[in-house]
Symmetry: D2
Subunit: 290 residues, 4 copies
C-alpha cells in the first residue's frame, strides 16, 4: 500500500526503509530538502491515492500539532493520520476529535526500538478504532518484528501513547537497576571482572534482557565508562509517568527515583545538599565544604 | 568427569540431570532417602576418585556450613569443594581459609536461572583461583548455556557469591519496575488491553527481557493476577546488596526501594502509617480509620 | 476593621473567633444556617462598608471558584477578596485577572496551624500586591501568632498558595521521618521504652519540633497506636508538590516517597506486589500466598 | 558529686562547663595538654573518691574501646563507666560484659544537642540497669534541659545508643525534607521571598521545629546558601539505621533516601548515571556528555 511519511530523521528515515523493504510505497517529506520525495505537504497528499494514510514522525508538541493541523486542511474524508511521535497521551483525544469533525481518522502509535528498530523491527503500541487500525495494518506489519510479538492495539485513541509512556517509565527503572548494580560492583573490592560479570548474564540469568546486551556492548568499547559523564537527559515520558502516578494514586517508588536521579545528574551542585550542609553546620559545628 | 553433588532439591536435582546429560558422572546425596545415590557423605566421598570435586547445593547458612565442615573431615589434600548455594559472600573467605589449611580447594559459585536452568542452562558466577576454576570447568561447561555467555570467573574467593548478590539486587529493581508499570496501566482508564501491551513488548521494545517473557506467561494464565496476593518474600541477596551500598557509600535508591516494598507487602498493617495517621489526627483533626 | 468571612467550619469558625478576639468585626456566612451571621452572600456584602474585605475559607476547587464568582458579582471596585482555602496555586492568577477586570483585588493566603491555630495563631503565607496586603494587614496581624514570625508576603498572586503547598510537602517528609523512626524503634529488641524516647526528645534534641510534641501527645493516649489503622489520606498539596518537582526537574526523593507511602496505605492489596509475586513464582517456583 | 570526664573537645568541653555550673566537680582529661585537669587516666582515677563515675566522650570506635579498656584496668568494683560518644549499639553489650566481670558498671548514653547543648541542655538517651542509672542521675540532671523532657532511660545496655541512632535517622529525614522544600521553592518562579517563607514558618506552622530555626539562622547569614557546597558527610548513625531497617525488615524509604543523597553529594561524578548515559547512547543514539 501507499504511505505518506512526514519526518525522515533518525527514526523516520529508518522506518521508511523498513516499510519499503516490505514492498510498500512510501512518499516521504522532511524539512531537510535532501532527504525528501516531495517538497511540500500538499505535494505529498497529491501523490497519494484516496483513501490516504499519512504517518507523522516529527518532534512531539508544537511541530506535531501544526503538522497535523496542516494535514487536516489537505486531507479528505476517509483519510487517516497516524502520529508515531512521542506525543503526550492527553493530546490525542482533542486531536482526534478535531480530525473526526472532518471525517479524518486518527491513530496514536507509540514506537519503541531506537536505532535498532530498522533491523529488529519496532515495537508498536496503537490507540484508535478497530476500523482505523485495520486500514493501517499492512504498515504495522511491515514495521513490527516478525512473529507474534511487537504490536498491540491497546485501546481507543490515546492508549497507544499511554502504553508507550508506561513502557518508557519501566525502561527508566530497569536502566537505573542496572546502573546501580554496576556502580556497586565497581565500588566493591570483591569483584575483579565487572564487565565479564555483565557479559556472563546475557544467557541463563534472570536479568537477561536487551538492555543488558546493550550495556555489555557499551562496556566492550569502554570497560569503565571512562569516556562518559554521569549525565542523563529525560524525554517527557518519564515525567508524565510520575504525573500519572500522582493523579491515580499509584505508588511508583522506583520509577520516580529513576527520574529524580536523572534530574540530579544534570545539577552542577545540589541545592538540597547545600541546605543539608547548612543545617549540619548550624547544629553541629560540622565542617563544610565551600 | 565425576562430581559429588550434595542437595538434590529443586535446584540441585535439575542440575544433576543437566550435568549427567553432558556425559558426566554425578554421585548425589540428599537428606531425603528416595532421591539420593548414596546414603551418607562418607559414602559419597568414597565413590569419588581423587582428586575429588564436590558441589554443595543446600540452604545457605548453618546447613551449608556444617555440610562443608563434615566434608572437610572426609576429603583429602587436592580435593575441591564448590558451594553453589546462596551463601553470603562474607562466609566464603573464612571458609576457604579453613579448607586451605587442609589442602582442600574452594570455589564459590552463584547460580542463576531458577526452575528454567535445567532447560536453558544456568548463569554461573565463580570466585576462586584460576587453578581451581580449571579443575571444575567441565562441570561449569555442562551447567552453563551453550555459547559465549552464562559463565564468569569474577575474581578471587567471594567474588562469585558477591556477583550473584548484585545480580539479584538488579533483579529486584527490574521486577519492581515491571510491577509498577503494570499497576499504573491497570489503574489507568486509557488502556484496555494491558496483558496485550506486555505481550507486545516481548519483541522490538527496549524492555524486552526474560522477566518480561515470564510476566507475559503469568498474565496468560491469570490476566489480572487475581489469584495472587501482593506478598513477596526476600531471600537475603537483596538485603545484603543494600548493606553493601551502605558500607561502600553507593546510592541505591531503586534497589533499596524494591526491597522495602517487599517488606511492606508482608505487613498486615503499616506501623509507620499508623504514626502518620496519628499525627494527622493530632494537628488537623483529620478523620482516621480505626 | 470589618471582615466578611465565608465558611465557618473547623478552620473558619476558629479563625472568626481569633479575629474577633483581636477587636475586629466579622460578618460570617456558612451554608449551615445555625453558624452564620447572615443568610446570603448578598446580605454579607450589604453589611460591610466599602472598601470591603471578604475572606473565603471553603473547600478548594469548585466551591471556592463558584463562591468567588458570586462575590465578584456582588462586590465593587476597590473591594478585596482573600482566599484562605487550599486552592491550587495555578488557580490564583486566572482568578485574580478576572477580579482585576472588575477592579476587585485578590490575595491568596495559605493558612497552616490546624485545629491549634485558634490558640497558637496561624502561620500565613500570602501572595498579591503590596497594596492589597496592606489593606488586609490588620486581619493578618490578628490571625498570626504574636511576635516576628508566622506571616510572609511571599510574592505576587499565587505565591501564598505555592508556599503553603511546599510547606505541606515538607510536612509530609517530616511526618514520614518520625513514622519510620517509630516503626524501627518498635520493631527492635534493643529499646523498651519507645514512648519515653519520643517524649524525651521534646527538649534538647535535634528533632525537637511541634510534630514531635503532637506525636508524644498521641502516644500518651495510645502508647502503641493500637487504636489506629495504618491509613492516611493526602490532601492535594503533597501531589502538587511532586508535580512541581517533575515540572521543574527538582529531585524530591523524600517528599515523593512520603506521598507514595500514603497511597500504599490505602490499598487493601498491592497490585505491584502481585506482579512481583507472579514473577517470583514464574522464575523460581517460589511459593506464593494466594 | 564527682565526675571523671575523658574527652574535652567541642562536645565534652561544653558538657564539663554545664556540669560544673550545676555544682558538680569535674576532673577532666584530654590528650591536649592545655585543656585538662590531670595528665593521665591513672591520675584521673586517683583524684576521684570511690565509688567513681567516669564519662567517656571521645571518638567512637578504637579510641573509645581502648580508653574503656584502660579504664577497666584502673577502676575498681562498684565504679561506673558511661560512654556518651557515638558508639555503635552493638559494641555496648560485649563491653558491658567485660566490665561486669570486674564489677564495673556501664551505661551507654546517646547525647544530642550539638554545639547548642551547653546553653539549652542536652537530650540524653540512656541504656543500662536502674541501679547504674540512679548512680549517675545527678549528672544527667545537670546535662539535660530543665523540665520534664530531655532524658530517657530507654532500656538495658545498648538501648541508649540505639535510641540515639534512630533519633539521628529521623534527623536525616527531617533535614532532607527541609532541603527538598527549599530547593523547590528556589527553583520556582512563583515565590520571591524564599528566606521569608522559612522564617515565617517558625511560629504557627506545622513544620515549626528547631531545625527550622537553625535553617532560618543559616539563611539570615547567606540567603541563597551561595557560600556552601552541596556536600554532606554522614556520621555512622544514618548508615546503622538503614542496616537495622534491613535486618528487621522495616521499610525506611525516607531515611534511606536521605542517606543516599548524602552519598551522592560526595561523588564528583555519578557512576550509575554514566551507566544510564551509556544505555541511552546504545539504544537511542542519544547524544551524551563526555
Amino acid at each position: 500500500m501507499q504511505l505518506g511519511l512526514i519526518g525522515l530523521g533518525r527514526m523516520g528515515g529508518n522506518m521508511a526503509d523498513r516499510i519499503r523493504a516490505a514492498g510498500h510505497e512510501v512518499v516521504g517529506f522532511d524539512h531537510h530538502p535532501d532527504k525528501r520525495d516531495v517538497s511540500s505537504l500538499a505535494e505529498l497528499v497529491e501523490k497519494l491515492a484516496a483513501p490516504r494514510v499519512v504517518w507523522t514522525m516529527v518532534p512531539a508538541g508544537d511541530i506535531t500539532e501544526s503538522t497535523i493541523d496542516q494535514l487536516s486542511e489537505l486531507l479528505a474524508e476517509g483519510d487517516l493520520i497516524i502520529d508515531g511521535g512521542n506525543s503526550k497521551f492527553t493530546d490525542d483525544r482533542p486531536r482526534s476529535e478535531r480530525l473526526a469533525a472532518k471525517g479524518i481518522g486518527y491513530l496514536d502509535c507509540g514506537v519503541s526500538g531506537g536505532v535498532w528498530g530498522s533491523q529488529n523491527g519496532y515495537a508498536l503500541m496503537v490507540g484508535g478504532t478497530e476500523a482505523d487500525v485495520a486500514k493501517a495494518m499492512p504498515i504495522f506489519e511491515a514495521l513490527k518484528p516478525a512473529g507474534e510479538f511487537g504490536f498491540v492495539h491497546a485501546g481507543p485513541v490515546g492508549a497507544g501513547h499511554y502504553t508507550k509512556m508506561v513502557h518508557n517509565g519501566i525502561e527508566y527503572g530497569m536502566m537505573q537497576a542496572f546502573a546501580e548494580g554496576w556502580e556497586l560492583l565497581e565500588a566493591s573490592e570483591y569483584v575483579d571482572n565487572v564487565p565479564g560479570a555483565f557479559k556472563s548474564w546475557r544467557e541463563g540469568s534472570v536479568v537477561k534482557s536487551w538492555l543488558l546486551d546493550l550495556f555489555d556492548r557499551a562496556l566492550d568499547g569502554d570497560p569503565e565508562l571512562g569516556k562518559l559523564k554521569g549525565y542523563a537527559e529525560d524525554t517527557g515520558e518519564g515525567r508524565w509517568t510520575v504525573d500519572e502516578a500522582v493523579r491515580l494514586a499509584v505508588p511508583l517508588h522506583v520509577i520516580a527515583a529513576s527520574l529524580f536521579t536523572r534530574f540530579e545528574s544534570r545539577q552542577p551542585d545540589s541545592p538540597a545538599m547545600k541546605a543539608v550542609a547548612a543545617l549540619r553546620q548550624q547544629f553541629g559545628g560540622h565542617a563544610v565544604v565551600s
